[in-house]
């Protein structure tokens, strides 16, 4: 597979269409991340679209040494922060059933799953922005703390604390839900 850096070079050499390779590689994945981060699909798609546009315009500043995905993620996180700062609503943290690609086992009890998702969305929504961001980047996107530091600009020890506290908080909320 052609590396991201090689694709970037082609785009910088005038092959605009090559940018669609990067869109195919990252768009869906980052829409999912953005949905969890900003809390609704409409804003998430807008944020991701804006991220790609900004990345395209700034492509000359991309350094091969950095993973393209991480560079893109840094732009995305900052765009998402802007949207959050505007204070738009958080809703439909998890995509609608119809939109999600669900494993077959889950489809056996769609109502239970919907209820579970609702509770989980509520739990995640109770985290502060920084905690939610660190939690998602570490446990869902699988980034190391060093990578998260590069993406968010926060220190590693602060990030570890945020992730630890977010896990504690989520566990507390989710266990409370289970007891009801």
């Amino acid at each position: 597979m052609e590396s991201d850096a090689a694709v970037v070079k082609r785009v910088l050499n005038g092959e605009v269409e090559a940018f669609s390779i990067l869109v195919e590689r990252y768009f869906d994945h980052y829409v999912r991340f953005a949905i969890h981060l900003v809390g609704n699909r409409e804003d998430a798609e807008e944020v991701v679209q804006d991220t790609f546009l900004r990345a395209y315009r700034a492509l000359g500043r991309y350094e091969e040494r950095e993973r393209f995905g991480a560079w893109l993620l840094r732009i995305l996180v900052n765009r998402a922060r802007t949207v959050s700062a505007i204070g738009r609503r958080r809703e439909k943290m998890f995509p609608d059933q119809a939109d999600a690609v669900l494993p077959e086992t889950a489809l056996a009890h769609p109502e239970e799953r919907a209820a579970l998702r609702e509770e989980m969305a509520r739990a995640l929504d109770q985290l502060g922005r920084d905690q939610r961001e660190a939690f998602l980047l570490h446990y869902v996107e699988g980034l190391s703390y060093e990578e998260i530091a590069a993406v968010t600009g926060s220190g590693i020890s602060a990030l570890k604390m945020r992730v630890k506290r977010s896990c504690e908080r989520l566990r507390e909320i989710l266990q409370g839900v289970n007891r009801v």
């Binding site: 798609e45 000359g60 939109d99 999600a100 566990r171």
Partner: protein
Amino acid sequence: MSDRLPGPDPLAMLITELREPVAVDPASKCRLMDLIREAPAPAAPPVRLVPNRSRALAAIRRMRGDAPRTASASTLATAAGIALVMLVGMQDRVDTGAPRSRRAVVIGDSVASVASAIRDTLRIVQFMLTAPAASRVALAGDFNGWDPREIEMARDSRDGRWAVTLALAPGRHSYAYVVDDTQWVRDPAGMAAEPNDLAPPRSVITVPR
């Protein structure tokens, strides 16, 4: 990367749910590509203002008269920086692995001839970061097109302090340290730059005239 799941089932279930892929309308990506096609072409990579060491040394030779004086302003700027490395006070020893630093300081100045016609005063600035656990530290900034490889910092093995000295033109400069090629850190002792979603964490130094 981490595959560890943090604890009991509810949290693990949440993470599993969050990792589920979502379906995206292909039309969204088509619309995005339409916008990309209409957008202005991306700007070319920034021009390097600080050349590599061999070019800088060649520039020093030219300044001494060993070769015709046809160096560019940026070449001479770096040459002055390398030629006029000055020592500043030692920092206290530290034992932690976390990067720390003294603020970047202006420690002198130099005058370089530019294109045989313009004279420009450059200030000598020393950048320091204490990072005993790092195996490599570089300085990147707007003065070198944010190249994370070009300006390597030298390590003092006694206290884990990394330092480099540059000649910079008066004015405001943004910079960051790149630890072990991956971690971009702002100067812990410096002034943080305004957040910019296209740039790594960075600091700002104002070099006086």
